[in-house]
Amino acid sequence: MDPLAAIRETFFQECEEQLAELESGLLAMEAGDADSETINAVFRAVHSIKGGAGAFSLEALVRFAHVFETSLDEMRSGRLASSDGVVKTLLRAADVLADHVRAAHDGSSIDEAHTAELAEELKALGPEGGDTSESEEDWGDFSFQPLSAAAPAAPATAGWRVRFKPRADLYAKANEAALLLRELGRLGETEVALDDSGLPDLADLDPEAAYLAWTVTLTGDADETAVREVFEFVDGDCELEVEPIVADGGSAGAPADLGEPEIPTTEPDGNLDIGVLLARVQAAAAPQAPPEVPSGAPAPAAAATLAEPSPQDGQGPSRKPEAGATIRVDLERVDRLIDLVGELVINQAMLSQRVMEAGFARASGVAMGLDELEQLTREIQDSVMAIRAQPVKSVFQRMPRLVREVAAMTGKPVRLVTEGEGTEVDKTVIERLADPLTHMIRNAIDHGLESPEKREAAGKPAEGVVRLTAAHRSGRIVIEVADDGGGINRERVKSIAAERGLIAADAALSDEEIDNLIFMPGFSTASTVSDISGRGVGMDVVKRSIQALGGRIAIASRPGKGSTFTMSLPLTLAVLDGMVVSVQGQTLVAPITAIVETLLPKAGDVHSLGGHARVIAIRDSYTPLIDVGMALGYRTTPLDATQGVALLIEGEGGARAALLVDAIQGQRQVVIKSLEANYRQVPGVAAATILGDGRVALILDIDTIVAVSRGADSLRAEKRLAATG
């Protein structure tokens, strides 16, 4: 990539950060808790986007950013008051700006009319005269500070070391070394050392020759020119070396004459106190408390005060911690590391097992050492997984915009409350969360919340609240989307489900069962397919995508109070909670998330349907019983159901089935190894893992087994297999 293209990519990355900053700042303003620094940060975000865009000649982006920036500048300078209406306009402008950034990045098109409309709204906010940008030409000339001759090469100095050795000519021309040294003394503090090593024995002394040299250490603010000027008249008659003494950052010696006469002090710039600042920066290592200094106080006094911790300011100001140092690493490298750690975990487990088999006592040194190794391995695994973990913020922060748009479309005032944005989860999980979350929030506003009139009639505030929260709970991340709407209209859901033939018209269902009907494929409560929710996906798709991530989704609804969707997801996709089972001497793993319950079939409960097809009666309903050994081709005659264990599972779209296995070995976390990467895709097998004893165990692909065994349409199942590959 050529350097400019790389910088361009950096620019778009930075834009995303700035857009996020812009939005969170505006939201803070909307909530009414914005200080001047927030407004400044908001301004700076737009300003920075404009500045960068200019460098890459992104004209449309620059134009819009400019109009936006002008309005924000009005607000920053206090000429435009922050009101609800103003902030709403700014928020919409932020959305348009985000569109422009994305359009500039990927070449997508822009809604010109919408842009023009918002630009007009922004201009209406002021300033009066419209655009105040002036061109550079009519500035006239500035008298810039000239650079002193020595300055270009002049490093930061604390003073000068001057070595001065007169030649005989100097004395012959009636110049005096002592006078020159005294002159030098006027430039600052001097320390003079005499070098008399050139002095010969008295017998050899030539009274007209020059033997002495001096080294002067001059501290102060004199520049090199001034130092050399002292020797101007003896130039050529002496050896002269002037070298700077470089200031070291640690010496907190702001010299006494900090108040430079050439600095205009007529215009105090904000509350900036240079002395305090310098002292703080110099002593950067220790967190400092800038003491209160009267603005008129001379800077040196301030610096002096700072030398001692100020007693009235015990804890010091809450300085934000420095933004953590970060490095960008190729995802591939991280994944490779995760893979290796996976191997390490397996290896360690195998080693432990061998040691146990070798008959070492638990209290033996070897066993105890292995215990420590196990601990360490687990810690390494956690730390490595944490590298891939990211806060859910990146997906949460897309939601405010969505809420604004849906609110505008439905005409329902909505407030979005987010919590737990810092909760971390695997990057892939975050990426795949965006779609389901978008859909659920749309649903919550479109179907969940009532119209403002209805809400008021029910004694609720007109503004609906949608709450989006994330939290860690027992090794998983739990994300909730809750609304304070009317809750699920169970009567309606039931009648629609009956209408669509999903349930019998007279089915007796519990409230919970009715609520769960909305996850059934083909269910849609909206009588007219609205523009918002009806995009051809229903809650069944949401449920499927959550399950594909190894997650579960549940709904809780209370009439008149609202509904809550709770999703529980694994923190990583690299490990899986598995039920280890044996089938015909093979060890297999079933994902625990899919298992509803396990049971020991009784002879009377199992009924044959002809051929090998069987069903099992579980609490008055018949569920297909699938012999995993048969499904995977391990055996040709089905296992006697009473000799095995049935795992009641819930697959895609809520379809239930019972998987018959020989025995359950236990439950454990397994490291997922892709079978495709190492071998090829095998129907009915999702992946593989390596167990503690070193054996490879296959992880079952529940959905495919169910689909194929049911013979529903084995061809379709095969197709889906190909599609998921």
């Binding site: 930075e14 490093p155 950052g249």
Partner: protein, 129 residues
């Protein structure tokens, strides 16, 4: 006639994009020693710990803005002669006027070309070799 390679430069801007652009411009002009800082405070800290002969600083930055940095530099004798070029995001006459008051050596309006960057640096240092 200073050689660009002998001038140690510090680029101060909170935007990585702008820092990279200035750096790439400077490199094109033959500069070798280029340091970066993300805000005025960090810039000042660097100036106190290593010799810097030219500062190219953005104006609008968090913590300590460009004008604040300029004032601090001009107020601290060991570094006060450092050449200082202010980057401004937009043609703001008042801003440049104030920077001039505080002893700025020149200014540069974003977006800039390498030619303009060269012109402004030469206006301060003389023709670059």
């Amino acid at each position: 006639m200073p050689a660009a390679a002998t001038i140690t430069c510090l680029v101060v801007d909170d935007q990585q994009t702008i820092r990279s652009l200035v750096r790439s411009g400077l490199q094109e002009l033959g500069f070798k020693a280029i340091h970066e800082a993300v805000d005025g405070e960090e810039g000042l800290r660097q100036m106190l710990s290593r010799p810097i002969s030219l500062v190219i600083s953005d104006f609008n930055m968090p913590k300590l803005d460009g004008l604040g940095l300029l004032r601090a530099v001009r107020a601290h004798p060991p570094i006060q002669k450092t050449a200082f070029i202010m980057l401004t995001g937009r043609a703001d006459k008042d801003l440049v006027q104030r920077a001039v008051q505080f002893g700025v050596n020149n200014y540069l309006v974003k977006p800039f070309t390498v030619a303009t960057l060269k012109e402004k640096i030469e206006a301060v240092f003389g023709i670059l070799q």
